[in-house]
């Protein structure tokens, strides 16, 4: 089983209802429409899976997400009005959607960010020297000291 098809169970907060998830898919796609080789929010399963993972660690965003999902109207108009009239609520909702989208390992891979979580990558023994071996520091050293010494008392 790969990391990308593990089903994540939320640790806290009641799960969103199927109707809320449908609404989330519509609204989240207004924020992340997809392109440049990356899927939309719903294409990345934000509404079915990753929103649970995000809200499990950010209970403080739960109220904002549910409040936005309760807003009625055309999704594009809802998002546009929210951004203009209630930037704080929009910001919390956008954080939840973007946070859910960006913890999907498939999305991280497409963005070029390695691994589902920060990866161990210890330096090789001569790696530090390799960045300096062509004398890139020589001009800095050649210009000499740039500090002001302690004045004689």
């Amino acid at each position: 089983m790969s990391i990308t098809n593990v089903t994540i169970q939320p640790a806290a907060a009641p799960a969103l209802t199927p109707r809320e998830r449908e609404r989330l898919a519509l609204l989240a796609d207004r924020l992340i429409a997809g392109g440049a080789g990356l899927p939309s929010a719903s294409g990345a399963e934000v509404h079915t899976q990753w929103i649970d993972r995000a809200m499990a660690v950010r209970a403080d965003l739960d109220g904002a997400v549910r409040a936005v999902l309760a807003l009625e109207g055309d999704p594009a108009e809802v998002v546009e009005r929210l951004q203009a009239e209630d930037p704080a609520l929009f910001g919390s909702f956008a954080m939840a959607v973007a946070g859910a989208y960006l913890i999907n390992p498939r999305i991280r891979r497409e963005l070029g960010y390695p691994g589902p979580a920060p990866m161990k990558n210890a330096a090789l023994p001569d790696e530090a020297e390799s960045y300096l071996e062509d004398g890139i520091l020589d001009v800095v050293v050649a210009r000499g000291p740039i500090y002001r010494p302690t004045p004689a008392s």
Binding site: L31, A33, G112, P114, P118, N121, A122, Y147, T150
Partner: protein, 542 residues
């Protein structure tokens, strides 16, 4: 009230300064008790090895603002009159648990700003006075770096080899060379090789959310275990309410709360290491008939001259994939080109810069939304994925730290309307960024934009212009004159001969450098002074 056996030395606070003093004093044979209001932080609880680490960092449990965390060990801060938030971490290791490990020394001129630049005050000590303690604490904290930096006087090499400057540092170094500006591989309290109790850095790049592998020079990893090994007693969940005095005006211990119980720890000598907010709070809470204005506050300077040391940042985007998440997060290269005063720039003193790892993808999304000149650009909808694809992995982040000169109206006082979990008053912060600090930041940020252009950035913008660094400094000023300072050159309060302050609150000026190296050096210097003068030290016998 529960009373423990008398300690030779009582230390309040188990952060960088308290842990440094505890290690050295316990190793010298003193009986040492350390009281800290927080507890130990388990590496397995830290966010940095979890997919949600960026979301976790911003949540209430791990937020750097104690008001946001609101843990039992945190005390509230009133920020109504502060331009800046105040960041700190209360617990074993203190704010080193979350610091980036940037290990930066001031320059010699920092200790003589009145003599050289006609501003603020000279420190009563010099760079040379602190040099042996800088070099000793470099070993304590597993510092990696490259010797020979022309920004500093000659001295010993860091104990461990420098980390790779990586693709980000290399790209920017090439740009700085085109401009003829100084740069040097960064110094980090993060070991490039295994060192003592510290593992070799694995470059996860999550230093600011706590090191999950025990590599970073967190005081709870490096110093406190050594203090314990030498017999120090560390008390967690122990919140000090007041320092007490005997009839002769000597400190004789502290009253503290632990598990809801009031307790007393008697001691011959008391050291306070609660840093720039907690230390003045405790001194002000320790008022008495002898010191009605707060303990050791005959100068009326306790709490004043607060320097929050604001920083700015400039992020640039590049065609090349620079793997900008690579650790150690703190610093790939540094630049001291604009550190010293140049009167033609319209301000005194200057700034220290370093290239940091930008972080994960959510951090990059935030940078797009807060940037000057880009926050008005479309980001959501059709733009989101294109902009993230353009930026993630492709950025370089300049951090510009300005020197923040002291002003007496910037201060910490008590807020009796806010209370911590033990009913003690909160800290009220009054802080306005000075015009000189603004000018330093504006100048530095404009030069950093030029550096990005020279390095080949396709786009660059200012993401922070003036924001709190978590460096809380200056509120118990060090000086020779008891009328214009709180502590003397050894950290001893002028008013109470066996009460010492050993943390960032004693900074006479902020310098433009990250302060933890100097905090540790000062604490070690005070500890050494106590060891060498143990027979002459006045102590309470009550």
């Amino acid at each position: 009230m529960t009373v423990s056996p008398t300690a030779d030395v009582l230390i309040v606070g188990a952060g960088a300064s308290g842990a440094t003093a505890a290690k050295h004093l316990a190793a010298a044979g003193f009986s040492v008790v350390v009281l800290d209001q927080g507890g130990w932080t388990s590496q397995s609880d830290l966010p940095g090895d979890k997919p949600e680490f960026e979301l976790l960092w911003g949540n209430h449990q791990w937020h750097p603002d104690p008001n946001m965390r609101s843990r039992a060990e945190d005390y509230p801060t009133n920020l109504d009159d502060s331009e800046q938030p105040v960041y700190m971490y209360n617990g074993m290791g203190g704010s080193t648990v979350f610091f980036a490990g940037v290990w930066s020394r001031p320059m010699p001129s920092d200790f003589r700003v009145r003599t050289l630049d006609g501003v603020a005050d000279d420190w009563p000590i010099s760079y040379e006075d602190l040099l042996p303690h800088y070099e000793a604490t470099d070993y304590d904290m597993g510092v990696s770096g490259l010797a020979g930096n022309p920004a500093y006087p000659p001295g010993g090499a860091p104990p461990l080899p420098a980390h790779p400057i990586h693709l980000t540092g290399r790209k920017m170094a090439e740009g700085l060379n085109r401009l003829g500006w100084h740069w040097w591989p960064g110094y980090s309290a993060i070991p490039s090789r295994a060192h003592g109790r510290q593992a070799q850095c694995e470059r996860l790049g999550v230093c600011r959310t706590g090191c999950v592998i025990g590599a970073k020079g967190s005081a709870d990893v490096t110093l406190l275990p050594e203090a314990l090994r030498h017999g120090a007693r560390l008390e967690t969940g122990a919140r000090v309410a007041r320092i007490t005095l005997d009839e002769n005006g000597l400190a004789n211990g502290a009253v503290y709360f632990q598990d809801g119980q009031e307790k007393f720890q008697p001691a011959k000598v008391v050291l306070i290491g609660a840093n720039g907010i907690g230390t003045p709070r405790l001194l002000l809470m320790s008022e008495s008939a002898r010191f009605p204005n707060g303990l050791a506050n005959s100068s009326d300077l306790v709490g004043r001259r607060l320097m929050l040391h604001p920083f700015g940042s400039v992020v640039g985007l590049y065609e090349d994939d620079l793997e900008d998440w690579m650790g150690p997060a703190g610093t790939q290269i540094e630049c001291m080109e604009f550190y010293e005063t140049d009167a033609s720039r319209g301000f005194v003193r200057g700034s220290k810069w370093h290239v940091m790892g930008t972080g994960g993808p959510l951090e990059m999304a935030t940078r797009w939304q807060i940037g000057e000149g880009v926050s008005e650009e479309p980001f959501w909808g059709e733009q989101f994925t294109a902009k993230m694809k353009q930026a993630v992995g492709h950025s370089i982040d300049w951090i510009v730290h300005a020197e923040d000169l002291p002003e007496e109206h910037n201060r910490v006082t008590l807020d009796h309307d806010l209370r911590d979990a033990d009913g003690l008053p909160g800290a009220k912060i009054s802080y306005t960024t000075s015009e000189n600090t603004h000018r330093i930041l504006d100048f530095g940020l404009n030069r950093a934009l030029e550096a990005h252009e020279a390095a080949g950035a396709t786009k660059a913008w200012i993401t922070f212009r003036n924001f709190s660094s978590g460096h809380n400094l200056g509120t118990a000023k060090m000086g020779d004159d008891p009328e214009t300072s709180v502590v003397n050159r050894w950290g001893r309060t002028h008013d109470v001969p066996n009460l010492y302050v050993i943390d960032g609150s004693v900074f006479t000026t902020s310098t433009a450098t990250n302060p933890t190296s100097t905090i540790c050096a000062l604490a070690r210097r005070t500890a050494e002074y106590l060891v060498e003068n143990r027979r002459e030290q006045e102590v309470s016998t009550a």
